[in-house]
Amino acid sequence: MRQSSVIARRVAAASVSLVVAAGAAACGPEDNDAKSAGGDSTPHKGGTLTVLNSQPQQDFDPARLYTSGGGNVPSLVFRTLTTRNRENGEAGAKVVSDLATDTGRPNKDATVWTYTLKEGLKYEDGTAITSADIKYGIERSFAPELSGGAPYLRDWLVGAADYQGPYKDKRDTKGLSAIETPDARTIVFHLNKPEGEFPYLATQTQFAPVPKAKDTGTKYEEHPVSSGPYKVVSNDNDGERLVLERNTHWSASTDAERKAYPDRIDVRSGLDSSVINQRLSASQGADAAAVTTDTNLGPAELAKVTGDKDLAARVGTGHFGYTNYIAFNPTIKPFNNVKVRQAISYAVDRSSVVNAAGGSALAEPATTFLPNQKSFGYEPYDLFPAGEAGNAAKAKELLKEAGYANGLTVTLTHSNSKDFETSPEIATAVQDALKKAGITVKLQGLEENDYKDKIHSVRTEPGFFLAHWGADWPSGGPFLAPIFDGRQIVKDGANFNTGLLNDKSVNAEIDAINKLTDLDAAAKRWGALDKKIGEQALTVPLFHPVYKRLYGEAVKNVVISDWTGVLDISQVAVK
């Protein structure tokens, strides 16, 4: 989407889907999943796959990438200890081994994790991949020059809080003591607390091997050394045009996940979203073998596509763990009053909001904070039933109880970006819905940077604002902890616990679940915790986006997992 350029590049890279959801998406009732689409003929090797993207791959350094499950284009070049299961739907939300022989062997309390590398792993130059390379890859992600990754390594690894990477202190050859490499194939991680979800973390690109001899610091991203099925042939204009070709030293026998059908992958970015969708629908020439990894169908395009059978057959639908919500800051009046928060919860008109976000095909109304997927431990609940169009009567009643019988005037803060998430369209829909309940909403639209600074700072956080949260991996942990764990309130930096909730029982339950290495069991308890927190009405979940993406006529073997919600280009074939 054109305005996605307004969004910080760093954030854009943070999670492919997190940002790129501009068009938002949702699967209509008549849509089956992506499985049916394009799967009718057998895929073959060969050909060139074109990727049409709006965001250039400006960061292509494994240390700097903030990806979910290893990313899409990056995961063609970087293999990691573990990776996401490349399957459609729910099965795709599982973590599987990649470079390692398994998803990790924890000690009893899940504070030490041990991995063994498969045999015969090689870089694009034919040299062997060692566990030290993985350690080095992680270490360099601590360098301020290569900032950008997720916070978990710093938070979890023993003694990592002050570590500044291998560049600062050249004499310290031992590096990060929390990571041990007893031999070339073994790597051991020591955590400062139990983390049952460590295998999920090991999917991130920081776990990709980087040969120390080839490290060129900030210039490494121009040509990162490939461990995956493709290597970088050219990287122009800071990731705007990326050409990948087969890495002959990669062996399918060590990689069960990546299919790598095309011979060549041509990534062209910096395109306007409407242009991408126009090109994909026209599917002319090279565009017939084209996909996009970051651009959804917008509402207008969807309106056109649904009327055209041929086009509709070329739409991939996916779900990514993501929630758009209204956030309250309970330290600010009148949102300190739980009744006011509940009244607003009742008054919200989710059908207006869903329409503003692109309609029922692109957004599913949300009543839970957790995404509606099994891997997150989704447990359906609707604590303040607003119905389709909002329950204005109930809201008025609650307001009366709260002492606002004559109505209430509040200010809703939102961003001025055009992402259909925290953007003015959604804010005006909320404004219009609350009007019926006697709540006058004034809109405060902030420029993207200003908005982020304000809502993520404890000092400047507004009382009532639009926000969203996306999963770093498909589990309740990274979804609930940053938002509701009282110990994660950051006083002097970017704070995501917008409700400033510091509830001992919640904190304790989070700790307890983190100890579990049985991820299914953990999921159930995350779901229960979500409902429990929901009672406090600190957020009003609005909707979960659905991704609808076009692909070219010649594209086969379309796989869309619930982990990323988008077509996996490691599975796509164009012959």
Binding site: R2, S5, V6, I7, A8, R9, R10, V11, A14, S54, Q58, D59, Y66, R140, A143, P144, E145, L146, S147, G148, G149, A150, P151, R154, A161, D162, Q164, G165, Y167, T216, G217, T218, K219, N237, D238, E240, R268, G270, L271, D272, S274, V275, Q278, R279, S281, A282, Q284, D287, E448, N449, D450, K452, D453, H456, P482, V490, D492, G493, A494, F496
Partner: protein, 332 residues
């Protein structure tokens, strides 16, 4: 033109002063723009300590004047920077490093400039042909239906924003009629033919909008010339209308057209933001909008300076061409 040296020198000094002033203004304006640069660079989930490290890395803690001084130093003497594993040199004139991508701004500009210049130069040719042609036609057929029709068309160009014209052109020409491929930038040196085909629509979109001004100006200048005494002379000597219009009246429109063209060329280098964004051309405008959004000060300053440079140079060129076109003008 004995005074040309002095003229050139004075204009050069003026240009440098102008660019200097622009850089100061941009520095100050973007200094106060909201947005935590270190946080944006580091990522949303960075801890305060990491953000602090990044801020130090980028010298964000320094006072404004110190940072500006560094900028000037880099411009004159170049600067060294670390990639972590080695020390690199950014040679003068160094516009610094992008906060976001650690690339040298000068390299970034050099990479983007050909795109913007291709776009603007090409569409300049088109807008001159379209604009001047329309202007001549409507001056010739003044008062008749042709003129009104042409006036209407050129005004439609003025009245329609480029993003609407561009999108509709693209949908119709590339999507429905499939006459052209969807534009994607191909470097001229790689394949001149593809370069031209791919830029055709962007050229046309930009030209349609700019042409209107030229049509109006050409028409007005020609009508003004047509009312001048020397036109009467040639008519009184039996010179035909075609020659009067095509030779004498058109010649009179040269100077103002040149002046406007230089003016528009300069501003179009930066002003093609919309066209570049819409067609996904990786040019200066698109990059600049992006840099503004992420408060990437070195990139913003560098690119604005480049745009300012083109505007200033275009104006000097305009003055010179104007003087050449109109020998009566003394360079002053």
């Amino acid at each position: 033109m004995s005074g040309f040296g002095g003229f050139a020198l004075r204009r050069l000094v003026g240009a440098v002063v102008t660019l200097f002033a622009i850089s100061v203004i941009v520095y100050v304006v973007f200094y106060v723009t909201p947005g935590n640069v270190a946080q944006i660079t580091c990522g949303p989930r960075c801890s305060p300590a990491q953000v602090q490290q990044v801020a130090e890395q980028l010298h964000l803690g320094d006072p404004l004047y110190v940072r500006y001084w560094h900028f000037l130093e880099g411009l004159v003497a170049g600067q060294d920077y670390s990639t972590g594993t080695s020390v690199q040199h950014c040679s003068a004139p160094c516009l610094g490093l992008s906060y976001q991508s650690d690339q040298q701004v000068t390299e970034l500009i050099l990479a983007k400039l050909p795109v913007s210049l291709s776009l603007v130069f090409g569409s300049m040719v088109l807008w001159l042909i379209l604009g001047v042609g329309t202007g001549v036609l409507s001056a010739w057929r003044r008062g008749r239906l042709t003129e009104r029709l042409l006036t209407g068309i050129t005004l439609a160009g003025v009245a329609t924003p480029v993003f609407v014209i561009g999108l509709v052109l693209m949908i119709v020409v590339c999507g429905q009629l499939q006459l052209l491929p969807f534009p994607q930038y191909v470097d001229f040196t790689d394949d001149p033919e593809q370069w031209a085909w791919n830029l055709l629509l962007p050229w046309l979109s930009l030209a349609l909008i700019e042409a209107a001004a030229f049509a109006r100006l050409t028409r007005a200048a020609m009508l003004e010339t047509l009312a001048e005494d020397h036109i009467r002379t040639f008519r009184a000597y039996g010179v035909g209308e075609r020659s009067v219009i095509g030779r004498h009246a058109l010649r009179g429109a040269f100077a103002p057209v040149i002046a406007l063209n230089a003016n528009n060329f300069g501003s179009a280098v930066g002003g093609a933001v919309l066209t570049e964004t819409l067609f996904g051309l990786p040019g200066i405008g698109q990059e600049l909008v992006h840099a503004v959004n992420v408060v990437d000060l070195p990139v913003v300053v560098g690119m604005v300076l480049v745009i300012g440079f083109f505007v200033v140079v275009a104006n000097v060129v305009a003055d010179v061409l104007y003087a050449v076109a109109d020998r009566r003008v003394v360079l002053a």
